[in-house]
Symmetry: C2
Subunit: 265 residues, 2 copies
């Protein structure tokens, strides 16, 4: 059974998608088999990882969710990426319509569980990483109901992202009452630019604040790296773009840190 | 009747809230009366502009929306800010529940129009600025149904924000069929960091791409400025924090540019 990790934060632009695509590639390069589920209807993950974009007419998360109840599963929707160890379940904007129709049905939080229930094809993966949208709606709830862990990216410069964490932790608590295996793996500091002293001080303040609350902060901090933006523009992971850059080194270090945490359990 | 402007982009973290709070303050300092409507349930605008946070138990957008049909209006929910020319209608997370219950009712796009219909109190404002969440749900649809203009912030470094614009323009077109006065005022380039050549080139490429499509790009570009983050951390607008900084100068220039555009019409 794979370790299933939701990358979540209802604040926008904190680096959820950036973390998912680059962490997946890093784990894949370390020899792990990884499935990425793009649970965001805006499908930014898909735009990076799915090399043949036309495939998502036949293979997508929303197609799995819309299939007749007995027919749906997740693993049959997996598509290859440029890393042989990484597959992706793409998404499309139609997922937004699905969210609306599923709104007053069990699928609004149990859809992914239903699809995963007898899905033995998932067992070939060591990790499942789920990218989620910037809200606390059906997709995040579904992802957390399926997950062993949540990782919350927080930019060291973003006050609003910090403000929103309490709300996200409440969502985790609610879901834990139904999914007892769900834990917060930790907070991941992102977009860290050490050139401005306010960001350096803020990072230290954030780390000590979370320690005092017993919340784990990853030892790896993802530094701000212009090559991360450049990789996205080229529809590549940072490793495909230039593995010598900080963005690659930081995600490689994060992959090792996460693999250790999961292996200890 | 005020000029009503939605600041929208379904991509997260592009600077919607940053633009709304600082543009409002800039317009206020130029002598215009401004109402800010925080249409995001995450209420980041509220956390900056509402000095007495307890007020939002009595005064909020969601309270207006939940009031009995004949009783609701917007202007009675307006609270003061530290700028005498700027009022804010706060929001709370309960707005997310409202969105769900309103989902299959006319209010899911007509709620704001209903509240504004006989609301003569709105006429004391020259501008209404509406901050919206990173999605294309009820709040954005409501805001656009009420608006004369939409402004779309796009960071010069963000490929996904650029990818998402086509979708946002489609939403504008759909709403225009019911609200004939709605226009895209323009795209606002944000978070512009001229230190990396890829960002300088990207900005030029974005500007020429939009010109070729007949889409107006504001002459004012909002530069990346660490003081914008510092102002948010202090719950201040950039003008309250330090009007000498780039963040203030850029939003002041934007206010002048927008006032000219609106006055020409
Ligand atoms: N370490 C970094 N260095 C430089 N740019 C970064 C870094 N991390 C993220 N970014 C940039 O920040 C922007 C937002 O990142 P991303 O889209 O991954 O966030 P998100 O949380 O998935 O956003 P959303 O909430 O909209 O889904 C993107 O332009 C991305 O390239
Ligand atoms: N010009 C700028 N210089 C420096 N930081 C900026 C600038 N504009 C925005 N930011 C920072 O980027 C982050 C995202 O900005 P903001 O919250 O305004 O975006 P948003 O589009 O409202 O996000 P959301 O979609 O989550 O509502 C914040 O930490 C903000 O301080
Ligand atoms: Mg994303
Ligand atoms: Mg915002």
């Amino acid at each position: 059974m794979p370790g299933i990790i939701t990358i979540g934060n209802q604040k926008g632009g904190v680096g959820k998608t950036t973390t998912v695509v680059n962490l997946a590639d890093a784990l894949g390069r370390d020899g792990y088999r990884v499935l990425v589920i793009d649970a965001d209807p805006q499908a930014n993950c898909t735009s990076i990882l799915l090399k043949e974009i036309g495939l998502r007419e036949q293979f997508s998360l929303v197609k799995a969710l819309e299939a007749p109840i007995e027919d749906g599963n997740l693993s049959s929707m997996a598509c290859t990426t440029s890393n042989d160890n990484v597959d992706v379940i793409p998404n499309t904007i139609r997922c937004m319509l699905w969210e609306r129709t599923a709104a007053n049905t069990p699928d609004s939080i149990l859809g992914f569980l239903r699809l995963a229930k007898h899905d033995t094809g998932l067992n070939k993966y060591d990790f499942v990483l789920i990218d989620t949208p910037p809200n606390i709606g059906a997709m995040v709830n579904n992802a957390l109901m399926l997950s062993d862990y949540a990782i919350v990216p927080i930019p060291t410069s973003d006050q609003f992202a910090l403000d929103g964490l309490a709300t996200f932790l409440r969502i985790l608590q609610n879901i834990r009452s139904q999914n007892g295996k769900l834990r917060l793996m930790g907070v991941l500091l992102t977009k860290y630019d050490s050139r401005a002293s306010v960001y350096v001080k803020n990072r230290e303040r954030i780390i000590s604040f979370f320690s005092s609350k017993g919340i784990y902060v990853f030892k790896t901090t993802i530094r701000h790296n212009v090559d991360i933006d450049r990789a996205h523009m080229k529809r590549k992971t940072i490793f495909e773009f230039d593995p010598a850059k900080y963005g690659a080194k930081d995600h490689a270090a994060l992959a090792k840190e996460i693999a250790q945490i999961v292996e200890k359990e």
